[in-house]
């Protein structure tokens, strides 16, 4: 099939960007969306033009690298799918496709479709872990975990940190991302000791990065390639309330001990 692409081009974070139009010819339905972009890029290079830059790596839907708005939808029109797992059989001949980078103030554009998502890393660094050093840990079966808790933790832990939730939200809120990690760790006994401080500090960092507040419109859930549900945001809210006022944050930034 033949398609027309309207792609956001932006040289770097300081330059302004604009949509440019490119043809995509002889596209097979078996190609993934990124393979279609590969074909377009190979043509551009052969014409001595700059190829379209986009983040990608595993190309099997798990690393979370690929990030793009396709026709205004994060990762495109197919539900529960990353851009690398979207196949061209979902489009039809002659279609115009608009491709843009993630939209969120906290994700500045680095080039074309590539954005800087290090804000997510800083949110995890603020407390998205169990503070345990290597070695000397008890036997794995010493603390039984009810299967339903382990399953809930796994449902939440499946988040790939792609950023679609924030990109899809009109308020650019990353609550679903934060909720997934907070839920994953708080339902397990191992993560329970630090649950209060974790919720407070991750939310504090989320806000400091410039992500907005949740508006309960569930766009994040609709866009999530791993089908992480907004029920985890409800869980996050409960954890946050339970943790109480931010004055409970006992730890100074940069200190080593964060037992909560």
């Amino acid at each position: 099939m033949n398609l027309t692409l309207h792609v956001w081009r932006q040289k770097d974070a300081k330059s302004s960007g604009k949509l440019e139009t490119y043809p995509a010819r002889n596209i097979s339905g078996d190609m993934s969306f990124l393979e279609m972009l590969d074909v377009v890029n190979e043509d551009l290079i052969k014409q001595n033009k700059d190829p379209i830059h986009f983040d990608h790596d595993c190309r099997e839907g798990i690393c979370g690298s690929c990030s793009m708005m396709i026709n205004g939808m994060a990762h495109g029109p197919e539900r529960a799918t990353t851009a690398c797992q979207l196949h061209m059989r979902k489009f039809h001949d002659g279609e115009h496709i608009h491709i843009e980078p993630w939209r969120a103030k906290a994700f500045p554009v680095l080039r074309d479709l590539i954005v800087d998502r290090s804000a997510f890393d800083r949110i995890i660094q603020a407390g998205g872990y169990v503070s345990v050093n290597t070695g000397g840990t008890p036997d794995g079966n010493a603390i039984p975990v009810p299967k339903e808790n382990a399953d809930t933790a796994m449902d939440a832990a499946t988040c790939i940190g792609c950023g679609a939730c924030a990109a899809a939200c009109k308020n650019a809120s990353a609550m679903l991302f934060v909720a997934a990690k907070v839920t994953h760790l708080s339902v397990l006994p191992q993560g329970s000791a630090e649950r209060r401080e974790r919720a407070l500090r991750m939310i504090q960092q989320h806000d400091a990065e410039g992500f907005g507040h949740c508006t309960n419109q569930y766009e994040c859930e609709a866009a999530c390639p791993k089908e992480i549900g907004v029920k985890f945001i409800a869980k996050l809210n409960r954890e946050y309330i339970r943790a109480g006022a931010s004055s409970l944050v006992r730890r100074e930034s940069g200190a080593g001990d964060n037992a909560g």
Binding site: E42, D57, G64, S118, D121, G135, A150, H184
Partner: protein
């Protein structure tokens, strides 16, 4: 060159305990004076960086991805082995050790493998403590399943996302140390060169992939945990960015490269659909627990809908040939049998390069919901890529490049022949021999990162003084200048071919001549063709843009240039190893039943290649393998 393995003396089962008792320590107050560079943030690199920072060392961590959480370990699906014997089915450290040695076709070092089996037990405890959500039984205890090459259930798993969850555990531990200021993280930074001063690894040259800036970092030790070289073959199950550049460039600076011909072809991948394809997707090996592999008995049934082919007309060839292991036969054996069935004209799907993986019997036995619970995401993935439902008809699978067992040579300390250069995980050669069993890669990555390097690196540091070396040193400047010139050369060629065109051609040469079966003729042919292709690259590649900004075409070209040199070394290693073992199958060396025929008399050794100069033949060094406990025998899974 004399390759000293530095294996501790004494009985095999006590070597690691003895090492730990004898090792030299660094006083906690002195640890903060030492600096370490860790390249790569997968299971090995992420775990090492976090653990070394916990101990008090100053760590600089580098990855080419935008976040350390995206290292390719994240895509591993199946599971991680540990000799816990929770199932009371006869497992033990000895049995895991023995299975791994046998699975590697007696081409791994006994002492390293035994240590791996020993620490496997601690890995699970560590990960559970970090909150890794392993699958659980209703009683709350950890669940297990079995995996290829084993007759016990010793594999721990997190649905089909084990690699992701283990990596997130390491990433979270790393994040904690970044927050604490003990790790300085450098994402979107690619390794360009290793800096060796007075015979010791003292730093690295890197490129900031956002700005193009080339800069140097110095340290008291350098750790490479940069994964394998599957993408030499262009199509593989590895992530698009996986590359050989760090290990290959370290080789060019004096580190020896061991057993590059050992590549693993995984039997359960989704078959190739066309020339546009940029990568292959693996279906977890755990599927072989319940799925039955077959092809039609008669070539005349090819093209028929699989559900219409009667039971009596199906050839469940793995169950037929290997009755005791059946569909769980090791990867090299299962892959080769798939190739045979297809060579025999009985392959299914486009191009006749596929075999069926059938769940009908398992669904009938356990019910659809049980199968969905165990493998649901894999079935979804298959349907998304092929447009077919694995619940309603058998899936189609075919072997693909998946893992590389060769890597930089290391001793028992995980140190290369260059003092101060340590190599971890898939980037080293040490634990898997000529073949890797399922669920053993994650185990090795985490063993190296969490439980081995903290001891062996301290032992090394106890013998060298910490020293802050300025990156203004002439050797750093020389290496930076060389890299800048190489980049400028690539940018100035302005030919007609893209780096991807040339990479794809290299992939065809490798798969056709150095793939599942190799011969003297095919290997010589490959070497000639690779040389020609390399010349073509340097005369007709077109790399657009500049080095002053984010330039993905330039990143790719730099990696392809290394694959074009490394591919020749891989083929050369395969040519000189005149035997068949594990994933290295030389057609000239097979028994009457078509099974791999080892030559223990002449090749029971590690081949470690030494760089001799740009136009010179590399030197093949040998480390003999000695057997104290697991004496080589014919590897039979029948």
């Amino acid at each position: 060159m004399q390759l000293e393995s530095h294996i501790p003396s004494g009985p095999l089962a006590g070597k690691w305990t003895k090492y730990k008792a004898d090792q030299k320590l660094v006083n906690p107050a002195n640890k903060r004076k030492y600096s370490v560079i860790v390249v790569g943030t997968g299971l090995a690199g992420g775990a090492a960086a976090a653990t070394l920072a916990e101990l008090g060392y100053n760590v600089d961590s580098f990855c080419y991805q935008d976040s350390p959480r995206r290292a390719h370990s994240i895509a591993a699906q199946g599971g991680i082995n540990a000799a816990k014997n929770y199932q009371n089915d006869g497992d033990s450290i000895y049995r895991l050790f023995y299975d791994t040695i046998k699975g590697g076709d007696y081409r791994a070092r006994e002492a390293n493998v035994h240590r791996l089996a020993e620490v496997s037990v601690n890995i699970i405890d560590q990960c559970v403590a970090q909150g890794v959500p392993f699958a659980r039984e209703y009683g709350g205890l950890l669940a297990n399943r079995s995996f290829g090459g084993a007759q016990v259930s010793r594999t721990f798993y997190c649905r089909g996302q084990t690699g992701q969850q283990l990596l997130l555990g390491a990433y979270q531990a790393l994040s904690r140390q970044i927050y604490n200021g003990k790790v300085k993280m450098h994402p979107r930074t690619e390794f360009l060169d290793l800096v060796v001063i007075d015979g010791r690894a003292r730093g690295i040259v890197v490129r900031d992939m956002t700005t193009g800036k080339i800069e140097s970092y110095s340290a008291d030790a350098v750790l490479l945990a940069t994964g394998g070289y599957c993408n030499t073959y262009f199509l593989s199950t590895n992530a698009a960015g996986c590359n050989v550049s760090a290990t290959y460039r370290a080789y060019k600076r004096g580190a020896t490269f061991a057993n590059p011909c050992y590549t693993q072809i995984h039997p359960t991948c989704i078959p190739v659909s066309g020339e546009h394809q940029s990568k292959l997707t693996l279906m977890s090996e755990s599927l072989r627990n319940d799925g039955r592999v077959w092809v039609p008995k008669n070539a005349s049934d090819i093209g028929k809908h699989p559900n219409s082919i009667s039971e009596s007309d199906r050839d469940y060839y793995l169950e037929r040939i290997y009755p005791s292991y059946g569909n769980l036969a090791p990867r090299d054996i299962a892959s080769r049998q798939s190739k045979k069935a297809c060579d025999d004209g009985r392959g299914v799907g486009p191009g006749g390069r596929g075999v069926y993986l059938d769940f009908a019997a398992a669904i009938k036995r356990d019910g659809l919901s049980k199968i969905q619970e165990k493998y649901g995401n894999l079935f979804d993935m298959y349907e998304r890529i092929t447009g077919e439902s694995g619940y309603k008809q058998p899936m189609r699978i075919y072997p693909a490049l998946h893992y590389t067992m060769g890597g930089l040579w290391v001793d028992y300390n995980l140190m290369s022949n260059l003092p101060g250069l340590f190599v971890l995980g898939e980037a080293n050669f040490s634990d898997h021999g000529a073949n890797r069993l399922g669920a053993s890669a994650l185990m090795q990555g985490l063993a190296d990162g969490y439980f081995i390097i903290p001891y062996t690196l301290s032992n090394y540091f106890a013998g060298v003084k910490p020293e802050k070396l300025s990156t203004d040193h002439a050797e750093f400047k020389r290496c930076e200048e060389e890299q800048k010139q190489k980049i400028q050369k690539m940018l100035s060629i302005k030919g007609k071919k893209t780096a991807i065109d040339i990479h794809r051609e290299l992939g065809h040469i490798m798969w056709d001549n150095v793939g599942m079966a190799r011969t003297k003729e095919s290997l010589n042919r490959a070497i000639d063709k690779i040389r020609n292709l390399r010349e073509e690259f340097w005369s007709s590649v077109n790399v657009p843009g500049t080095n002053d900004d984010l330039n993905q075409a330039l990143e790719r070209a730099g990696r392809v240039a290394d694959f074009l040199e490394f591919g020749e070394l891989l083929a050369k290693d395969a040519l000189t190893r005149e035997e068949s073992c594990g994933g290295h199958f030389r057609e000239e060396y097979q028994d009457s039943e078509g099974e791999a025929k080892r030559d223990d008399e002449h090749f029971c050794h590690v081949a470690a290649w030494e760089y001799a100069g740009p136009d010179k033949e590399p030197v093949r060094n040998v480390e003999p393998l000695n057997w104290e406990v697991a004496h080589p025998s014919k590897r039979s899974y029948k």
